[in-house]
Amino acid sequence: MGKSMKKYFPVFVLPTLIAFTIGFIVPFIMGVYLSFCKFTTVTDAKFVGLSNYVKAFTEDGTFLHAFWYTAAFTVMSVLLINVLAFAVAMLLTKKIKGTNIFRTVFFMPNLIGGIILGYVWQLLLNGILMQFNRTLTYSSTYGFWGLVILMCWQQIGYMMIIYIAGIQNIPGDLIEAAKIDGANGKQLLKDVIIPMVMPSITICTFLTLTNSFKLFDQNLALTNGEPSNMSEMLALNIFNTFYGRTGWEGVGQAKAVIFFILVALIAIVQNRLTRSKEVQQ
């Protein structure tokens, strides 16, 4: 069968391959190359070695600050989102009236775009902070917690849906057997339910980790890095380096390469860690 199909390569694969080359392969390779160059547009690139990478860390402290800010934000939001989403999922899989309505409501914010959500929450949070004569951009701490609250509000519903599916997949007799053996609620959760939903935990931590680490839209709309770049996350910092100052495109590209390596590392390490904890079924 393979033989007769082979000549259909242009029909089946070529459209995707061409678009993929334009949309990903070429920009990626050029991006890696340009991170070693000084340029303002793609055509005037001059090779300068590693100086862009040095500049990314030495010229001003914003990149390192953005890194720590992003790291703190990621840890905080991954923990909060997953713990809360799991708790809500546990409760909503019990026989509570109106479960379906609650699921519908909690999931809804996921469909609304980050820019829109940023402005929605800006109105609410500024309104609350106004009572204390503050605004979101008064200090980066306000922006930080504003973003954490926004992300929790948006992502809990999504993760909850995945956890619910995981919990519902646990065979009922397994839980019954544990109960007959005298397991109390805490043991049931720790020794039966959590090991059984480990695949869901893997997926949800992966999604929340990468979503939080790569966050851009919400950051841009909610605080835009104010005050003076102090609430700027990595993605926004890279964007501002590219488009905020001319002559710094190379540094922006170097930062982007570092950013890519960080994201890839997180993805690989996280996958190894949680996959090893999954139980064979």
Binding site: M1, G2, M5, Y8, F9, V11, F12, V13, P15, T16, L17, I18, A19, F20, T21, I22, G23, F24, P27, F28, G31, L34, V42, K94, I96, K97, G98, F102, R103, T104, F107, M108, P109, L111, I112, G113, G114, I115, I116, Y119, V120, L123, L124, G127, M130, W153, I161, I162, A165, S200, I203, C204, L207, K214, F216, D217, A235, V263, A264, A267
Partner: protein, 278 residues
Amino acid sequence: MTKKLKHSGAWTVLFSILSVAYIFPIALVLINSFKKKAYISRKPFAIPTDKMYVQFQNYINGIEKTKFFEVFGWTLFITVFSVAAILLCTSMCAWYINRVINAATRTIYYMCLFSMVVPFQMVMFTLSKIANMLKLNTPWGLIIIYLGYGAGLAVFMFSGFVKSIPLEIEEAAMIDGCTPIQTFFSVVLPIMKPTCVTVAILETMWIWNDYLLPYLVLDIKKYKTISIAIQYLRGGYGAIDMGAMMGVLVLSIIPIVIFYLCCQKYIIEGVVAGAVKG
């Protein structure tokens, strides 16, 4: 038994309160969209009474300033055709590269996997320059860009499903004289329908709300998407017009909520299916 019932009633009450609190931010925007713009920042929590009430003035301003209906139309155009292109092209590609196994098809598969961990910031500058050079900075060109950049996830998900289709079905069709193209459209594609729904939902959620890619690729003097128009409302017109902003926010959220309430079953199933495979 009665104790348990009471218990569950308490949870229902608690979750009802939580649900209301969950909707509150959006309700707040809705309330403020009927207020005079001077009052929105000063008294965001007040109910718009006679002095503050402006009827639909904010909506009219917002629609005029952002050319909302034009922008909405472009967003719809880009989303529908990009998703359609992704579904058609990547499902064909995924089937082929899982049936004809050689070095080239394996490379394509692993490149697709690889592209899923690359953040957009890595390619954004070069991508926007290439799109400019190739004159892809129109909504039609953007469809090609979305097909290319969204191919990774879609090919990966379709591949997962293609591997589970028994070869015998396709072989039977081929023996009966179907060409590979006929086999694909009359046998394989119908079996792949559930995966198509999943991919369509995930890609729609991404493309409809995407801000940075269209902002960098499109010629934004001529074409904008909803996210870009909202961001422009803050930056492009001097002092921010909170009234127009509230109106446009409400107008952007309403279609999404309606769409969600109509197809929530598919959306939630799609998200679960997508997560299990991803």
